[in-house]
């Protein structure tokens, strides 16, 4: 694990410089907020949060503001950690239907009996912070997301990582890389037509990664792929996209046998094996509004999934299906509450829980001294659809609450108003 992280640091993540925004040296004091800490401290009423140098410097009552500090009167409004936009392709796919703008999936067109697996493929290197989706998403309170390579022509989709959405080029957050593998019927199509072959091929790749001889013909992995996979076999984070209960149990056992730290993504039937997931401490990233048998891997889909998993002690986070709609994870959380998930667990599922799953718990996902100041001040209940973000801060900088969409809105709203004049 340690070897993997240090290697990730230099190879992929770069150094997350906190110098790009001049405003960071400035102090911001948010006074009198209802602070959702997303931690054991729970919700703190009428509380101040002091931001200094991009981080939370103090949380308490009647905090003193230094001269020159920007003071914001929250007037009791809710303040939460910046929210998680889910697993998606934000900034790597601009318009899904336009292949020239899509960089999330690798298609080498190898024949299925001679697949070339590329775990070394890292989708996060194609992240474009200037994507118009970035401001659209962050002004709704989403401050980070996990880039999820889409499976192209093999079940081994490659690697992704968490990114901050403040518009910086070096957006990839250190230590957050994960390997993504497509299982279930989605993977079967890429593995010769059977889900059993997914495990067969994974076992083959694992043997190759441990082999001392050079890759021969018919091998799945190149040398770079072997090295990458070997790092994940030493406690790396592997996200398995899988929904059927039986498949989930196979994945959990497989990951345990091979030293991987599994995360289940999808997990529509995870509630059926909640006890086993809790025991193995395998978290689930789910879409809590999935309630239809979308196919024969989803027959057990139910709106109670999130509540049941939580009740069984499984760690959960939320992710929706559409990259341009990453802003809606909050709505997913609200719906989970409507179907039995406690409010604080729902907020955690889009803040602290995913941060912890991707190794960010120490720096993001909570409101606590020392955390990066990714914060959102809301117009009302943070999980309510009629609530909007009044102000978003990322790493202590106030985000401009504008996007291409608000530009379009203003241009045409002025015209309608002038024409109707009522």
């Amino acid at each position: 694990m340690k070897a993997m992280q240090s290697s990730l640091l230099s190879a992929w993540a770069g150094i997350a410089l906190m110098l790009s925004h001049g405003a960071m040296a400035q102090e911001i004091l948010i006074r009198g907020a209802t602070v959702h800490t997303a931690s054991a401290k729970g919700v703190l009423k009428n509380t101040d949060v002091l931001i200094r140098d991009g981080a939370v410097a103090a949380v308490g009552s009647a905090l003193p503001a230094s001269a020159g500090a920007t003071v914001i009167d929250a007037k009791g409004r809710d303040l939460t950690p910046g929210m998680f936009g889910g697993l998606n392709t934000l900034g790597i796919d601009e318009i899904g239907a336009e292949s020239s703008t899509v960089d999330s999936s690798l298609n080498l067109k190898s024949p299925s009996w001679d697949q070339q697996w590329r775990p070394e493929f890292d989708a996060s290197t194609s992240f474009n912070p200037h994507s118009v989706i970035v401001p659209v998403t962050r002004m709704e309170g989403i401050t980070w997301a996990v880039l999820n390579p889409a499976s192209g022509d093999s079940i081994m989709a490659g690697q992704g990582a968490a990114v901050t959405l403040d518009g910086r080029y070096d957006a990839v957050l250190r230590g957050t890389h994960a390997l993504f593998v497509q299982m279930g019927n989605g993977g079967a199509r890429l593995a010769g037509g059977t889900r059993a072959a997914e495990f067969m091929l994974l076992e083959q790749a694992i043997r190759e990664s441990r082999a001392q001889t050079a890759p021969g013909s018919g091998a799945l992995l190149h040398t770079a792929g072997r090295e990458t996979l070997a790092r994940y076999l030493a406690g790396g984070r592997v996200v398995f996209q899988v929904d059927r209960a039986a498949d989930i149990l196979q994945v959990v056992a497989f990951a345990q046998r091979n030293g991987m730290k599994a995360i289940i993504a999808g997990g529509d039937e995870a509630w059926e094996v909640a006890k086993e997931l809790a025991k193995a401490d395998v978290p689930v990233i789910l879409d809590p509004i999935d309630d239809l048998p979308a196919d024969f891997d989803h027959l057990g889909s139910t709106l109670d999934n999130a509540a049941r998993l939580h009740k069984a002690g499984v760690r959960i986070a939320f992710s929706g299906p559409e990259t341009p709609q990453a802003r809606l994870t909050r709505q997913l959380a609200g719906n989970a509450v409507a179907h039995g998930l406690p409010q604080e667990a729902a907020l955690a599922a889009i803040t602290s829980a995913p941060a912890e799953m991707f190794g960010l718990g120490a720096t993001r996902g909570h409101i606590a001294v020392g955390q990066v100041a990714d914060l959102v001040l809301w117009s009302g209940d943070p999980l309510e659809v009629t609530t909007l973000a009044d102000q978003v801060w990322i790493a202590g900088s106030a985000v401009e609450m504008r996007s291409r969409q608000t530009e379009l809105r203003d241009r045409y709203w002025d015209k309608i108003k002038a024409h109707q004049a009522r």
Binding site: I289, F296, S379
Partner: protein, 484 residues
């Protein structure tokens, strides 16, 4: 006479086809008999623009009898205490593919696009509807009582829609909304040009799309001309025959002579060959079938309004009208509805300019008709939340949309686009007893439908999950029992 029968009659008389095809695939739905129902003490959004606090709603014989305060309890009535809860008309989704793109989404149930030719006005969505789609039940739990099932958007002209009541039935005829006119699904933009262009077939461009619609309607005009000619000749023939008949009676003495002559020169005219594609389009031009058009971009909507004017038909609603806000005034002036999502955008080029204020901005002009639609087995379960999001974004630019106005996006306006505003969409006296009792203000992420009524009959009751409708498909599947 109901609209359908009237339509059928128009069809038969206009086309001169035999009376045996008067009403194809007639509805077999009959509202169940129910005792009077009095819902008491609710916050009522009537759908016609009113909000009544602590009000009662009375349904008698499956129809709304009255809405008001402290209504007397009729004898034999069932009462429901709805204090603290909200009542709205049943929700209407005019863009659904339930049954034609059913769950599970396997190839055997993939029946939504007859993508073998860009003009398939001869196909009818109802013939693809699988009534066992579990999506009907989950839509019902979201308060949806009426839905329009459309063919997909692969084709320029995809086929006829069908309007269904969200009731359980073995066959679609048992769901078919009595008296509802047919719709015609048409599609602008990227989908038809992609589907056919990729096969090096027309259309492959937007100009190819427009040529395709125009040629189809031009052919239908010719078709109508040939039927008009036939009908004229038939009328003349019948007239002559009648005259000849009365002449015969007079000149019965010269019978043999006349008979020979008459047989020779006045046989009945031969009818033109029936063409199901053109027959549907001809009915569109007569105003008997309502055009629902998938169209994202404002400029394409403008083009289509001109095409409709050229051929003398009306587009009742643009669906997926992501850019409707750019032409909100023209749509209101032309009396064309725009059916929208709250915030879907960006998944393809023609959806790139989506904004979250679209619904409210389209709703703003006088005589507007803004509609929330789903096009999704998931979205249809939460139409109320879609409206709620738009209310919030509208407020931020100074548009106040109170709940009594927003509910029209889900009830009255979609009813208008279906031509059913005299039957459903509001809680006015005489309309269907289709309504939802919500556990709170429906414009909230926490709002759930407690009870849903269709024609005064309880169709869903959250308090009794065991009694909730379940499709044949859901029976005996492990893990579908639900409930915490």
């Amino acid at each position: 006479m109901n609209i359908l029968a009237r339509t059928a009659l128009l069809l038969t008389t206009a086309l001169g086809v035999s009376a045996s095809m008067a009403e194809s695939f007639p509805s077999t739905y009959r509202a169940p008999s129910t005792p009077p129902l009095l819902i008491q003490g609710a916050t009522v959004l009537t759908g016609s623009g009113e909000r009544l606090d602590t009000a009662d709603v009375l349904i008698v014989d499956g129809k709304i009898q009255s809405v008001g305060k402290n209504l007397p309890v009729p004898s034999g009535a069932r009462t429901i205490n709805a204090q603290g809860r909200w009542v709205t008309p049943g929700l209407i989704d005019i863009h659904s593919h339930l049954g034609v793109y059913a769950s599970p989404a396997v190839s055997g149930l993939n029946d939504g696009n007859e993508a073998t030719s860009p003009v398939t006005s001869n196909v009818w969505a109802e013939h693809s509807v699988w009534p066992q789609d579990p999506g009907f039940e989950t839509a019902l739990e979201g308060g949806v009582t009426t839905l329009q099932i459309l063919p997909g958007s692969a084709n320029l002209i995809g086929g006829r829609s069908v309007v269904l009541k969200n009731v359980q039935a073995v066959s679609y005829q048992g769901m078919k909304f009595p008296g509802a006119a047919y719709g015609l699904k048409m599609a602008c933009g990227e989908n038809p040009k992609r589907v056919y262009g990729e096969n090096h077939q027309a259309p492959s461009t937007r100009m190819g799309n427009v040529a395709g619609y125009r040629q189809a309607f031009a052919d239908a005009q010719d078709y109508q001309v040939s039927w008009d000619k036939y009908n004229r000749e038939l009328a003349e023939y019948n007239k002559k025959k009648t005259e000849a008949g009365s002449a015969d009676a007079k000149k019965s003495k010269d019978k043999d002579k006349d008979k020979d002559k008459g047989d020779k020169d006045s046989g009945p005219p031969s009818p033109p060959k029936r063409d199901l594609k053109l027959e549907t389009l001809a009915e569109v031009m007569k105003g008997n079938i309502r055009v629902h058009m998938h169209c994202y971009r404002a400029d394409e909507m403008d083009t289509m309004l001109d095409v409709a004017d050229e051929f003398g038909f009306k587009i009742v609603a643009f669906h997926h009208a992501v850019e409707a806000y750019k032409i909100a005034d023209r749509l209101a002036e032309k009396g064309v509805c725009a059916a929208m999502w709250a915030d879907w955008w960006g998944f393809k080029m023609e959806a790139f300019d989506g904004i979250q204020e679209n619904l409210a901005m389209v709703d703003y002009p006088e005589h507007s008709c803004a509609i929330v639609h789903s096009d999704s087995q998931d979205g249809i379960q939460r139409l109320n939340q879609e409206a709620a999001k738009s209310i919030a974004h509208a407020q931020r630019i100074g548009i106040a949309v109170p709940p009594e106005r927003a509910i029209r996006w889900l009830t009255l306006n979609p009813a208008k686009s279906l031509g059913l505003e005299d039957k459903i969409g509001t809680l006015e006296t005489g309309k269907a007893g289709d309504l939802v009792i919500w556990n709170r203000n429906p414009f909230s992420v926490y709002a759930l439908a407690d009870q849903v009524f269709i024609d005064g009959a309880l169709a869903f009751d959250r308090a009794h999950p065991a009694a909730k409708p379940r499709s044949d498909f859901s029976l005996g599947q492990s893990g579908t029992e639900g409930g915490l």
